[in-house]
């Protein structure tokens, strides 16, 4: 006997509308299905009616967390089509915001992961520290979420010596705090035990289902646009691609913690080497007919924009692929054969509430289809037996 549990699209625990249908047998998920499109806004169609400069602000509104990623990806491509070269100071400032955004996004994710694993202290620590980087972003751009720093041919705001000092101070604070996250697993073995072995995705599966970002890197694939297909800027700074081999949620956490350090390293190099000069050049209004493929490593994985110009002041076509869409096929694979209790962790950022669907005392035996009513004491005994027989990885060492 199989049950279908629908989660979403509108659900108190979901922050964004998505519908997940889980077919369960007991508490083991046998099949998973996603339904998308509840928040489809028609950005690609709309982009064909907006001018090049208007499209930057449209792209910025594709995502509320990595807003700079889509804008940068679009601007990178549009600048090639408009045949302009942004000045070096502008490029450095653009990618400074990129890396600060990556820091804020990873701190946010770590907090959510801590919360889902039942480690709320970690959630509060990371989200408190995230305010430091949010304040830096606000000082640089004037906004906390939609920075609007990009323009065609450079950036819109410069930083001065005082602000440069403040950013370095902020980075020092964050670095010291991240050292603590680096060690947290050693002090908190329950956290490690909760994450290890959950949501396994083998290297071969990650390849077949075309996973991107930390999901692929946690399965041992060094897939990072900043190294594989970099904008010229990333050749001028030193950093490593963070990977892990454990292929589970623990690995995905490790990759993100390591990436925090790489981002601090990049930010410090930018501020040390920041060239003098103008921050932007004037861009023409029209682009010659042509096409460009622009790729960018967003905090969640690879972004791609395919832009076609037709000689007018508007793009002929703008195709946007956000990293989360690329990770859905792999997520479905992970969910199959997982446990209901692990869904929130696997879907960490989405946060669905399973307990609401799971309150029945009348049970149907998954194999015989026979219905029987159990007393709570029996249910508790069954749950405890199950917990004992689970292959929980109790002695996993924190790999950092």
């Amino acid at each position: 006997m199989k049950f279908q549990i629908p989660i979403g699209p509108q659900h108190p625990a979901l922050k964004e509308p998505i519908s997940i249908r889980l077919t369960v047998e007991g508490e083991v998920i046998k099949d998973a299905d996603l339904r998308l499109g509840y928040n489809h806004r028609g950005v690609e169609k709309l982009a064909e009616e907006k001018s090049w400069i208007q499209n930057i602000y449209l792209c910025e509104r594709i995502c509320g967390i990595c807003s700079h990623s889509h804008a940068t990806c679009f601007v990178q491509g549009a600048e090639k089509l408009l045949e302009i070269e942004p000045p070096r100071r502008g490029v450095y400032l653009r990618y400074l915001v990129s890396e600060l955004e990556r820091i804020h996004s990873h701190l946010l994710w770590l907090g959510v992961a801590g919360h889902e694993a039942g480690f709320d202290t970690f959630f509060m620590y990371t989200w408190r520290d995230r305010e430091v980087v949010m304040d830096l972003l606000e000082m640089i751009s004037g906004n906390r979420v939609h920075y609007a720093i990009n323009t065609l041919g450079g950036v819109r705001r410069d930083i001065d010596e005082t602000l440069r000092g403040k950013i370095l101070e902020g980075l020092a604070v964050l670095k010291a705090r991240s050292e603590y996250y680096f060690k947290i697993g050693a002090a908190e073995p329950t956290f490690v035990a909760r994450l290890a072995g959950v949501g396994p995705l083998t290297k071969q599966q990650a390849m077949d289902y075309c996973a991107v970002g930390p999901m692929a890197r946690a399965s041992g694939i060094d897939r990072d646009v900043r190294k594989n297909d970099p904008h010229d800027f990333y050749n001028e700074v030193e950093f490593d691609v963070a990977t892990a081999d454990s292929c589970d949620v623990l690995g995905r956490t490790i990759v993100r913690i390591k990436e925090l350090f790489e981002s601090y390293k990049i930010c410090e190099q930018i501020l040390r080497k920041l060239p003098d000069g103008p921050i932007a050049v004037k861009a023409p209004r029209r682009a010659k007919p042509g096409e460009v493929v622009s790729r960018y490593e967003a905090p969640r994985g690879e972004n791609i924009h395919y832009i076609v110009a037709n000689g007018s002041d508007k793009p002929e076509r703008l195709k946007v692929r956000a990293p989360t869409l690329a990770n859905y096929p792999a997520t479905i694979e992970i969910l199959k054969h997982g446990f209901i209790a692990d869904v929130p962790l696997i879907f960490a950022a989405i946060d669905p509430c399973i307990c609401c669907a799971e309150r029945s005392v009348e049970l149907v035996d998954a194999r015989s289809g026979e219905e029987r009513t159990l007393r709570f004491s029996d249910l508790r005994r069954m749950a405890n037996d199950r917990a004992r027989s689970l292959s929980l990885q109790r002695n996993v060492a924190w790999p950092l």
Partner: protein, 155 residues
């Protein structure tokens, strides 16, 4: 594998004039729809760390241009193919690459292109009550916003 090595390899799969190299890290290959799946299978077997990034469709007036963007450790390869608007039909590449399923479903929704042998052909993005035959990313499709009706407002 750098760009030159990849181009050499691709020239053994398709005719040499079908391979273009407009910028560093960017290779474009043109292929007929019938040769698409064979090309993808060979690319998968002989290029390393290789995956599909996305599939873009472009309305070119008389035909649709479909671009398969593939990535690897040293850049991206885009496979370009054209299908006539009168009979928009494509083979699915989900055999060699199961991860392409969402992008092919998106093509079906947005351009009304029938993708053959798709493992999961359900509509993906459009609502259940979306009128049949409306494909938003076709150039001749225009959105007319229905007049707003305020209950109790002016007739």
């Amino acid at each position: 594998m750098n760009d030159e090595q990849k181009i050499e390899k691709l020239k053994t799969f398709v005719s040499p004039e079908a391979v273009a190299h407009p910028a560093s890290h960017r290779i474009f290959v043109t292929v007929a729809p019938s040769g698409l799946v064979t090309l993808v299978e060979r690319m998968k077997a002989e290029l390393d760390n290789w995956y599909v990034i996305t599939i873009s469709g472009v309305d070119k007036g008389e035909s649709y241009e479909i671009l398969y963007h593939f990535g690897d450790t040293t850049g991206s390869i885009t496979v370009r193919t054209q299908i006539p608007k009168a009979d928009p039909r494509l083979p699915s590449i989900c055999g060699p690459i199961p991860g392409a399923v969402l992008y092919e479903r998106e093509l079906q929704d947005m351009f009304g292109i029938a993708v053959d042998n798709l493992p999961d052909p359900r509509p993906m993005l459009m609502p259940d009550d979306w009128p049949a035959g409306n494909f938003p990313l076709r150039k001749d499709w225009k959105f007319d916003r229905p007049a707003e009706v305020i209950p109790g407002g002016e007739k």
